[in-house]
Amino acid sequence: MYRYDEFDAAFVASRNAQFANQVARRLDGSLSEDEFRPIRLRNGVYLQLHAYMLRIAIPYGTLSAKQMRVLAQIGAKYDKGYGHFTTRQNIQFNWIKLIDVPQILAELAEVSMHCIQTSGNCIRNVTADHFAGIAKDEIADPRPIAELIRQWSTEHPEFLYLPRKFKIAVTGASADRAVIRAHDIGIQIIDDVKRGIGFRIYAGGGLGRTPVIGKIIKEFVTHEKLLGYLEAVLRTYNSEGRRDNKYKARIKILVNETGLEEFIKQVEAEYAISDTSSVDVDADEIARINAYFALPKLLGRSETKYDAALNDSAFADFAKYNTIPHKIDGYVATTISLKPIGGIPGDATSTQMLAIADLADKYSSGEIRITHHQNIVFPHVAKDDLPELCAALGAMGLATANVGLISDIIACPGLDYCALATARSIPIAQEISKRFESSQKQAEIGNISINISGCINACAHHHIGNIGILGLEKSGRENYQITIGGDATLDMALGERLGPGIDAEDVPDTIERIINRYLHLREEGEEFIDTYRRLGIEHFRVAFANQGQILSEDL
């Protein structure tokens, strides 16, 4: 794992001193609210419906047990005893007092953490594959490059006042688990026959009110030249991106309005005359960062206890759904689902976070990952330790065996917390998860993703959920639009709308009917997305429209 050197530590310390000073100047009137706002956002502080929300960066979703303990303490000391893990691998606390923020930042800095650029119109916290460094299908670990981008983008003087927020994601595996094509820039590590390891760059992806799938803008960039190329993209966007309408300000709109070819031409022209020598990365720095991400020493272990425990069906389910094979034989990466039946997706109590930290020390070399599905990963678990770990997690309510299944729902905070939301998301997720409580039923349904956003800003990525649910407000009532067929992988697809919006109480029934329709239509070996792709939306629309109570006056 990356650890701050004295330079990183000094930087964060001075940033914290700066923010404390800025808060003081806001309070004494030197800074107006309009002037303070971008500063506050760039330090992760949002003003929400009921209170300030503080979003803490977990760069590329990697954190240590020690850091998790501090998050637990912050939840207990400054919030209501819990925190919420987000779809960008961060954590947010929803009940923070502004006056406590400088002290919280100081406590975070003690463990090399910060809130820098978790919000605002700047380059946001970089995300990456949560199985980085572990997965067998990996070409190269994306974390070193994500860390390099974190450092380069931190307080980059030229790019602090972009037209809109800017999100970068990196994947190093053949399967994209970082949703790179839904990002402003997506970076895919590739192994080119002639040129070796390098990066393919996608740009212009993003969801929100205008969902767009990212397109390739550069086939190959070397490690050394990556930052210089990113600067050319950012400079083009900063100069040319729209600033007249915040809903048209993301780079995806610029790419679409300029035209892909012309946009690429502009970036290349900028890149050609850029002096990138100041951001080219030398071999020493690459080696320095790479060294931090070496695998911990994982000793060879027997698998007898693991094999014996498989006789227990609850354990067998946990092993089946919540683990993936590790590069090292005898080990697995284990996902801790934060989606208990009827629970709030992504929430963890401070008590649970403390337990997770202790268990990570005991069973995962002290390392933890946060997934964009709002779950937690122990990257290095010996298979023979898994029965013990599973039992210990079970005691904390953390052993739900549903990763990738229908109750593993991604949901934004919605109208229960968020100032932008138009409808609630959490209660919808809770009701759907209760509806499909039976583990047999979930196993029968198989792999499927449900994503629920409480407004068109699409924080829960509803467009790319196999089933997407979007909460809107219609004549003073919450109204939910259902899409199906979304896909979050490199073959990214946007879901298609099934029909008119429906009431909150009709959502679980409707989802159940869609699922029944799928179970009826599917062929041997198909997952939901396969059946949808084979047959198209019409076969599902029938199920949706046949229900009298849904045929409202909308039709």
Partner: protein, 146 residues
């Protein structure tokens, strides 16, 4: 209007500054103002960041005169503006009253650490690391001497 230069001096002199919009094309600006002594770039709001990139491009294109950022900018932007190539900042009287020189100096002082190489005299964190690695190598060489 009050002007603060990159050394933190307050200048109240009236001068003839040529001004351009923050969306001006580089070729046009260079054709018209390449030899200007002082060129002012207008920031319509403090959160419109186009002026930062424009300055970088102007310096790259060989503009050697002074560059002045003009608009409702705040002390917290001082270091970043200098880093991108500005020499001075012009703000309104109202703003200078609310945010006097001492706040500009303090804001500049507090942001001494930076990951980026830039026009300022600051050493970037990447450079500092390189220097440290080189120094360690040198030290090791010295230790190996008989």
């Amino acid at each position: 209007m009050p002007i603060i230069d990159k050394e933190g001096n307050f200048l109240a002199v009236a001068d003839n500054v040529e001004t351009i919009s923050n969306s001006a094309a580089i070729a046009d600006v260079m054709a018209q103002f390449a030899n200007a002594e002082i060129l002012g770039i207008i920031f319509p709001t403090h959160h419109d960041g186009r002026g930062y990139s424009l300055t970088k491009k102007l310096r790259r294109a060989g503009f050697n005169g002074k560059l002045r950022a003009i608009g409702p900018l705040i002390p917290d932007q001082f270091s970043d503006l200098i880093a991108c190539g500005f020499d001075e900042i012009e703000i309104s009287d109202e703003q200078f009253l609310r945010q006097p020189l001492v706040q500009w100096l303090a804001a500049k002082e507090i942001s001494q650490h930076s990951y980026q190489n830039n026009n300022s005299t600051k050493t970037s964190i990447f450079q500092s690391r390189r220097q440290k690695i080189a120094a360690n190598r040198h030290l090791n060489l010295v230790r190996e001497l008989p």
